[in-house]
Subunit: 396 residues, 2 copies
């Protein structure tokens, strides 16, 4: 007897994946270089050379059992120490290894965070536009994901709706800044307001409400800015980090849970993560990758290409008359479609070999996402297609 809930999921096709498959198929017809594939958020720049050098150096010099042996359950001690020291230096909070649990990317980190603070039937709130995988991630734990409608003015937070939906059933609030798909970075004011509301409601309901901060794009922020550190605003913050985007190694599945040192349960929560792992079959990210990443914690891949692409695309979209919030980071932009139904809009774009993803998937119908983690040269070539598309279909 196969379990029905997973069987049922087989028939639900991901829109992003379908578009990406279309792009691959179309690429076989006309050459992939002629398909302007803005569908997938797959880092396009190489890993830093230091990462590769570190890997080779370790493989050449270290004892096999030291390199490939079991990692202690919360992660390799020296790696957790290095991560804590880096976070302390960067954000001025007293992180220690006791606050760090090494996880298999942000997905692994989130799987632990959700289970730390919610039982089946509890609610988690997130804000549109949002990463659509949050639905299966949360739903399959038995908790319930509810989505606060977007503040379409600037893709910060619709606070009125947020307060309305923040009922007693909500045990955690999930944020993602810099945001996929909008590219927006939450401001200090936004984070302060979130924190104030959570403190007020925690007191009112007599239970803690945790803030789960999904931060895979933390290092991709433009115009010389920095994403404000969420933990500085709210004690009960669980940071979920991934090196996938900062180091361009999404396949290596490496990240961490960092519980705010100011959270009174911080150490206990890290050891609870270890217990949670036993049920999910997680059992630590790969040892060699943990050890290598610890050597390049403060490096990043050459991320400036994303800012270059943002500049080119944003300028052109605005010129063409799109309503568009300027992304402060990530490699996404999320303009308003030129007709009400963004699915129809994106369908029409396919004729011009422009692969755009309708915003419905992200809880923001009427918008569309472009993932510009592609070569700048291709972004430039796509502008002509974009102009033709807008002119021929919408007369602009």
């Amino acid at each position: 007897m196969l379990v029905q809930k997973y069987r049922d999921m087989l028939t639900q096709k991901s829109v992003i994946r379908q578009l990406s498959e279309f792009a691959t198929a179309r690429g076989k017809e006309i050459g992939y270089e002629n398909v302007f594939d803005y569908s997938l958020g797959n880092p396009s720049v190489p890993v830093p050379q230091e990462f590769t050098d570190t890997m080779i150096h370790m493989l050449t010099t270290r004892e096999s059992n030291e390199l490939h042996g079991y990692s202690p359950n919360p992660g390799i001690t020296s790696v957790r120490e290095a991560v804590a020291a880096s976070l302390e230096k960067r954000f001025g909070l007293p992180y220690r290894k006791e606050h760090i649990f090494m996880a298999s990317g942000a997905a692994g980190a989130l799987a632990h965070a959700f289970r730390l603070v919610t039982e089946p039937g509890d609610e988690i709130l997130t804000f549109a536009p949002f990463f659509p995988e949050y639905h299966p991630y949360v739903d399959l734990t038995g908790a319930i994901l509810k989505v606060v409608p977007p503040d379409t003015e600037n893709f910060q937070i619709h606070f009125e709706k947020f307060e309305e939906m923040l009922t007693e059933k909500v045990m955690a609030v999930l944020i993602n800044s810099p945001n996929n798909p909008s590219g927006v970075v939450y401001t200090r004011q936004t984070l302060e307001k979130v924190a104030n509301i959570l403190r007020k409601k925690s007191a009112e309901y007599g239970h803690d409400i945790f803030l789960i901060s999904d931060e895979p794009y933390r290092e991709i922020v433009f115009d010389g800015a920095e994403a404000p550190c969420v933990s500085r605003f709210y004690d009960n913050t669980i940071m979920c980090y991934s090196f996938s985007k900062s180091l361009s190694l999404p396949g290596e599945r490496i990240g961490y849970v960092a519980v705010n040192p100011r959270c009174k349960y911080a150490e206990e929560m890290v050891y609870m993560c270890v217990q949670i792992s036993r049920g999910t079959g997680h059992n630590c990210p790969p040892s060699i990758i943990q050890l290598a990443v610890a050597q390049v914690l403060d490096k990043t891949a050459e991320l400036s290409v994303y800012e270059t692409n943002r500049n080119i695309l944003y300028r052109e979209l605005v010129n063409l008359g799109f309503t568009c919030v300027k992304p402060g980071g990530t490699f996404y932009i999320f303009p308003k479609a030129l007709e009400e139904d963004a699915k129809v809009f994106c369908e029409k774009a396919l004729k011009y070999d422009l692969i755009l993803v309708p915003g419905d998937t992200f809880g923001a119908p009427g918008y569309f996402r472009m993932a510009y983690c592609i070569d700048t040269e291709k972004v430039k070539r796509s502008l002509e297609a974009l102009r033709r598309f807008v002119k021929e279909e919408y007369g602009r």
Copy 2:
């Protein structure tokens, strides 16, 4: 509000871990080389040189995005093809990539297998002596693990008890051969009998009963023998494999689920594993490790040391009058203690710096486990301590 079930687990200390910590502490006093630490099942031999060479070669020659990019959800296609081809050649069953789901070690593979075929409240049967982590692995899915008492004659299967406990609620039977902790390899007769019973009961109850075969020790079999391929005996078999022991890289978290090609749901089950992953935060083993392992699928680490150790220990234990089933594989041996309470027996052994694990943990009170994945030289030196222990405490 932290989730109580995980909090509660924090107070339950693993006996094996406690003993291992004792060994480490004692090692600091008298030198670790003088502690005969038989507590942990941690491979002691190095990875094959071919693995290291392959890693370095790939890091030196391959494109970063190809090497470190996202793996497709069921695993990298070429890796699944290579695993399927190797299984087909080895076991004569028509494995194709569609039957293979790459997983983070056997723990990751089991987490998927359990969720494929059990809902909360369903039962999974396993056989004592058994790997104690099966309890949290299963319990945390919401299913219920029930343990069939041991056949202490030869540590095959107590069939009478098995049939008695195989009620309508049982959706899966979990076996582990070569077995941790007994070292025993299930015979063809045993597997045939299991299969016959499962077929009979599946028909009687009108639902499939799956056989989940946990096989991390498949390659560690002694006396030139081979462990019989479980899938050859029963169509509804889910093989859960790990390279941890065969390649000596337990920290790299690499293994797979291989659904029997003869199982009528095989392909569907692999895609169900992908859905399950979204809930557990699994999202594939690391890309570079997948690619490297695919290059050395038919290699193993130098495993013969385990057979050498088995021979030395088995001979000595029998000479000293222990009742002991001769291990056919793994790096464990599971003799009967010299007094009824194996916990007391193992406690006394500590005085001789012999770290043995009481069988209670494995569902077989009165026995004890020795994990002989240590240097042969140390095994030899431990014999003197073993003789003194037996003589001084038990007058033998």
